[in-house]
């Protein structure tokens, strides 16, 4: 599968899916006017990846600083999909949050509750 790269905009995060290295990045803010339109091809790409047979472990990196309700809904679907994928292969999820951003930390903890078949790591970062 070809790498999927979407540059960040003011309302959408940077997306970088490097299928050959099995790494998936979501970085930035997410409050698109039409979340479904923005995320549908992204979810479909992950679904296609999940159907491909692979023994390699995959890593999903989330470095989000803000997301709105409709993006949160999509994220929940995404975690559901990733968790299902985890039944077949080794999956790592990295949830990065700024050390002073309690909200993002809490959301990471919240999302991690739903994950049963993947390693969910909460990772704080600072400005340095």
């Amino acid at each position: 599968m070809e790498t999927l790269e979407i540059e960040a905009t003011e309302t959408t995060p940077e997306i970088n899916f490097d299928f050959s290295n099995h790494s998936f990045l979501f970085c930035g803010e997410s409050y698109p006017e039409h979340s479904d339109e923005f995320y549908r091809p992204i979810l479909e790409a992950i679904q296609r990846y999940s159907q491909s047979s692979s023994d390699n472990q995959a890593t999903f990196v989330f470095k989000l600083t803000y997301f709105n309700s409709s993006s949160a809904r999509v994220l929940m679907k995404l975690f559901e999909l990733i968790d299902e994928m985890g039944e077949e292969r080794l999956i790592n999820i990295e949830w990065h949050f700024h050390e002073e951003d309690d909200t993002m930390e809490e959301f990471g903890e919240d999302f991690s509750d739903d994950i049963e078949h993947a390693n969910f790591k909460l990772m704080s970062y600072s400005d340095d």
């Binding site: 479904d36 995320y39 549908r40 979810l43 479909e44 679904q47 296609r48 709105n68 309700s69 949160a72 809904r73 999509v74 929940m76 679907k77 559901e80 999909l81 909200t103 809490e106 959301f107 919240d110 739903d114």
Partner: protein, 328 residues
């Protein structure tokens, strides 16, 4: 491939179809429905939490912004501040030519005061004076341009204007109230033991100026420039202590409401002609000499009759008769 984003819709659609067929629903379908409902319930709770957290964050951010804007507002004239916050005034280098009334005031002998007084006392005195003067300026709708030590520069006509005449009248009335207030401040400080009396000189001119945001793209100053500014500053320095000197241009705008006496002419750098000045005496309504005064401005007629200023009554009668004859 299942469309994850319309999964719930597909469950609802399936449920509706099954109800229409009136067939008995088997336990696996019921389990699927229950699973979808549990998931939805979880999603709903999480979204409510997200919404509540966002709301809380927004409240905190709003409170911070309100606090910050309150602090920031003290650096601007309310007129400018409001125009900025409503978006009427763009934050970019942008100027325009406009008829404005500009006010300058200065405290007589302030330099001597700065040498005599302790810095703390001087700060208290200056804060007291500028606070009281600013309150009056804002009440009369003036845009406070700047304080330069004890000097104050205020203008009328931008960003808001009530009309050229009203702007000029409001400016003069503001200056008059400032002088009244200064008398009270003077008394308070005399009581406190201030040896030198506080006396202000004030100058006002109405003229075309350039107003707007001056400076660079990084640092802007909302102010007014032009000969009119220099002229009002010169009027101020020529005014006697505790008096207001206005130019003829201002006088022509305010003469129906404010009694002014003709003063000397002054020469101003950049102005080729001698500038006629007028001293503000007070409001007509305050004085008995309002009796015998009439003013009418209607198309084809401009009449100002002030009996108290007539020097040659016969000549006035003759001129009025000549004017009446023109109508016959």
């Amino acid at each position: 491939m299942t469309d994850l984003l319309s999964y719930e819709e597909s469950i609802i659609e399936h449920g509706n179809k099954r109800l229409e067929t009136q067939d008995e629903i088997d336990s696996s379908e019921y389990a699927q429905l229950l699973k979808a409902y549990v998931k939805l319930n979880k999603e709903q709770n999480r979204l409510i939490r997200l919404s509540d957290k966002s709301q809380k964050k927004l409240s905190v951010a709003n409170a911070k912004l309100a606090n910050f804007s309150t602090k920031l507002s003290k650096y601007f004239s309310p007129e400018v501040y409001n125009s900025l916050f409503t978006g009427e005034l763009d934050v970019k280098v942008q100027t325009q030519r406009k008829l404005l009334t500009i006010f300058f005031s200065d405290l007589e002998g302030f330099t001597e005061l700065t040498e005599r007084l302790e810095p703390e006392v001087l700060t208290e005195l200056l804060t007291h004076y500028l606070t009281e003067m600013s309150k009056i300026a804002l009440r009369w709708g003036g845009t406070i341009d700047k304080y330069i030590g004890d000097a104050i520069m205020i203008f009328y006509g931008d960003p808001l204007s009530k009309g050229e005449k009203a702007d000029a009248i409001n400016c003069v009335r503001m200056a008059m109230e400032m002088l009244d207030q200064l008398a009270e401040i003077r008394a308070i400080w005399k009581e406190k033991g201030l040896a030198l009396p506080l006396n202000a000189r004030m100058g006002i001119h109405t003229g075309i100026c350039t107003v707007g945001n001056f400076g660079s793209e990084d640092r802007l100053d909302y102010t007014v420039i032009g000969n009119g500014v220099n002229l009002s500053s010169r009027l101020e320095s020529n005014a006697k202590p505790n008096s207001i000197l206005v130019s003829e241009d201002t006088f022509l705008h305010v003469r129906s409401e404010i009694n002014c006496s003709k003063n000397s002419t002054i020469k101003v750098k950049g102005v080729s002609y001698p500038v006629q000045t007028y001293k503000v005496e007070g409001l007509f309504a305050d004085q008995t000499d309002k009796v015998g005064y009439t003013e009418h401005q209607i198309p084809g007629l401009s009449l100002i009759l002030d009996q108290n200023k007539i020097e040659n009554r016969a000549l006035v009668r003759k001129k009025i008769k000549e004017a009446l004859n023109l109508l016959d």
